[in-house]
Amino acid sequence: MIFQRFSVIAAAIIVVCCLFLLVSRNWRQSILAFAVLYIGVFWLTALVWPVGLAVVKLVVGWMAGAVLGATIQTETSPFQHVELRPVQIFRLTAGAVVIVLVFALESALLEWIAIDPVVLWGAMVLIGMGVLQLGIMTNPFNLFVGLLILLAGFETIYAVLESSVLVAGLLAVVNLGLALTGAYLISSQAGEETA
């Protein structure tokens, strides 16, 4: 099957998009990267779930991105502050460390959860990058992107373990709820800054 044969591409998409999200200074590009990232998530999920069910992840991810993107007002965008190149280099380095760490831990993790190595690797990169975003970012947009990425990583692993439709539905509701909560808090923050 085509998804299985080229599954490494999915992992590559995830790595590139996660690194881009770490250093991006343009919210439109960030949302785009977030949307592309979910293609990778969908791809990995499609390795273990029927494509029809895996599409739920893609649709939910895109909807979450759309909800977050729709909330950002250009004039109060969290990205308006010019970030220095050293900051971006630091983030990129931290991201690279996470990727190396996942490589290093892969064999140990496979002993814990015996699943397709590519799926595990991609999911662990997502989780690591999500935790990194949560740890080093301060603005609400990045925090919620970090949370959604982290959950996407977990969901990719969990998809191997559980294929219940109810769980898929509830996780979709949680993801959308998180995006809506993010939108609410981002707009509250923006309103406060413009006031």
Binding site: E111, G169, L170, G177, L178
Partner: protein, 463 residues
């Protein structure tokens, strides 16, 4: 008609209606209190497992409801807990009006309670993690109403609670795998680690509790303590579910010493941080952490008495924290809620000041107050294992009592000793009711607590 429809469906429907009506605060207030009292009475008096005789006909009420192939069950054992939750919901929503909580509090608070009931009812119980996460998300607009600055504490609360969900769900899978293959030590290790991390994030277990003082001090303390208590109560019940369901967990050699160590650390550190505080909202958060620590200590006894203490603590904790947070929020409307700001308030707002002391000293385990008999019983049982297990928690409690004395001195200290009572009638009503109940529970614990221990009937293996 089914029990989940009554205690999950109707509250959800009602919360939607109240959300539409939220600008008419008076109407919302009356409906919320009346409906919560009704739900509580139904929980206490509606017979479980048999039809209700309505005179003209018999109304069958099923215990379970099937949704998307999964069952939601609310049987006899759950009713006591539901009754307590909705009865205290009536007090809390009434108090919300008194402290002028934001408009989202009542409608979304009802949603949180309905989700809590759903999490209690869902089978398999692992899905409760998803419902808890939904309750967390719903609670965000309650904690940060529109137009108010979003603070760091809220983000941390959201992050820590969200982090718990994946751990619990994967731990559930691992736990199932251990049941199927008990000889695999790596699976056991994996399940225990994941479970421990999940519950640590959920319950603000040491060292993951720094979000709690931030959250409570940066939001309305009354509202924040409602959310934290509601979620923690549910999570503790889920922990009983885990213990009941998995024999390997009950028989684990590591679990009970670990619970004892972490519980003691939570009680002691919360007590020590309290002594150095000025801000009472942070102290409220530390008392919540301390209570979670005592619950873990009760679980660590690993016998039926421990589980009985654990279950009985819910009622004492809810009413004492309700009184503490209500009086603190009322005082915070007039002054800054710190030791300096409260100077002389015993003469300006005597009822609120006494209630504050009642709540604070009650959480410190002072005699005659609600928490005292349970703490005494718990410490007695802990000391039978080793005296050291009892001494450390006593140090934590003593720290709270010392802080309580500092507050008492500040409340009494004033140049102007003209007596006034600035509390409104509704504030006086709720404060008096809360204070009386805290004393009643402390003096006559046997009137209330045995019936509450019926909660344990649901957990057949915890005997």
């Amino acid at each position: 008609m089914s029990a989940p429809q009554i205690w999950i469906g109707f509250p959800l429907l009602l919360s939607a209606i109240l959300f539409v009506l939220r600008k008419q605060t008076g109407v919302v207030w009356i409906i919320a209190i009346a409906s919560n009292i009704l739900f509580a009475l139904l929980a206490f008096f509606l017979p479980a497992g048999r039809p209700v005789d309505l005179g003209l006909f018999l109304l069958p009420i099923e215990d379970s409801l099937v949704v998307l192939g999964r069952r939601f069950i609310l049987d006899g054992g759950d009713r006591q807990f539901l009754g307590l939750i909705f009865a205290l919901g009536a007090f809390w929503f009434g108090g919300g009006r008194v402290v002028q909580a934001n408009r989202n509090f009542v409608p979304l608070g009802m949603t949180v309670m309905a989700l809590l009931a759903a999490a209690l009812a869902v089978e398999p119980f692992l899905y409760a993690a998803l419902l808890v996460e939904m309750a967390v998300l719903v609670s965000v607009p309650i904690l940060s109403p529109p137009g108010q600055p979003v603070k760091q504490g809220l983000f941390r609360f959201l992050i820590f609670q969200t982090l718990a969900m994946p751990f619990i769900l994967i731990a559930g899978w691992a736990a199932g795998a251990v049941e199927a293959n008990p000889a695999a030590p790596h699976l056991l290790q994996q399940a225990v680690v994941l479970l421990a991390l999940g519950f640590a994030f959920w319950l603000a277990v040491f060292p993951f509790y720094n979000w709690m003082p931030l959250l409570v001090s940066q939001t309305n303390p009354f509202v924040a303590s409602f959310i934290v208590l509601t979620l923690n109560t549910l999570v503790f019940l889920l922990s009983l579910d885990f213990l009941d369901a998995f024999s390997w967990l009950r028989s684990s050699d590591l679990l009970y010493p670990a619970l004892r160590l972490v519980g003691t650390l939570m009680v002691v550190t919360a007590g020590i941080w309290t002594v150095f505080q000025q801000d009472l909202t942070r102290v409220l958060a530390y008392t919540l952490i301390m209570e979670n620590g005592f619950s873990l200590l009760a679980l660590s006894l690993n016998n039926y008495v421990g589980f009985q203490i654990f279950a009985s603590m819910f009622l004492a904790r809810w009413i004492t924290i309700a009184l503490f947070s209500l009086s603190l929020t009322i005082l915070a409307q007039k002054t800054t809620p710190d030791i300096q700001g409260l100077q002389g308030f015993l003469y300006r707002m005597p009822l609120a000041s006494l209630s504050l002391l009642g709540g604070l000293l009650g959480m410190g385990g002072a005699p005659l107050l609600a928490v005292f008999p349970l703490r005494l019983f718990l410490l007695e049982n802990l000391s039978s294992a080793s005296l050291a297990y009892a001494i450390w928690p006593i140090i934590g409690m003593a720290c709270i009592l010392i802080f309580g004395l500092r507050v008492l001195v500040s409340l009494v200290e004033s140049d102007q000793k003209t007596r006034r009572a600035e509390e409104t009638r509704s504030q006086a009503f709720f404060l008096t009711g809360g204070l009386l109940f805290v004393f009643m529970l402390g003096i006559f614990p046997r009137w209330f607590l045995p019936s509450f221990q019926k909660l344990l009937e649901t957990f057949a293996q915890l005997k």
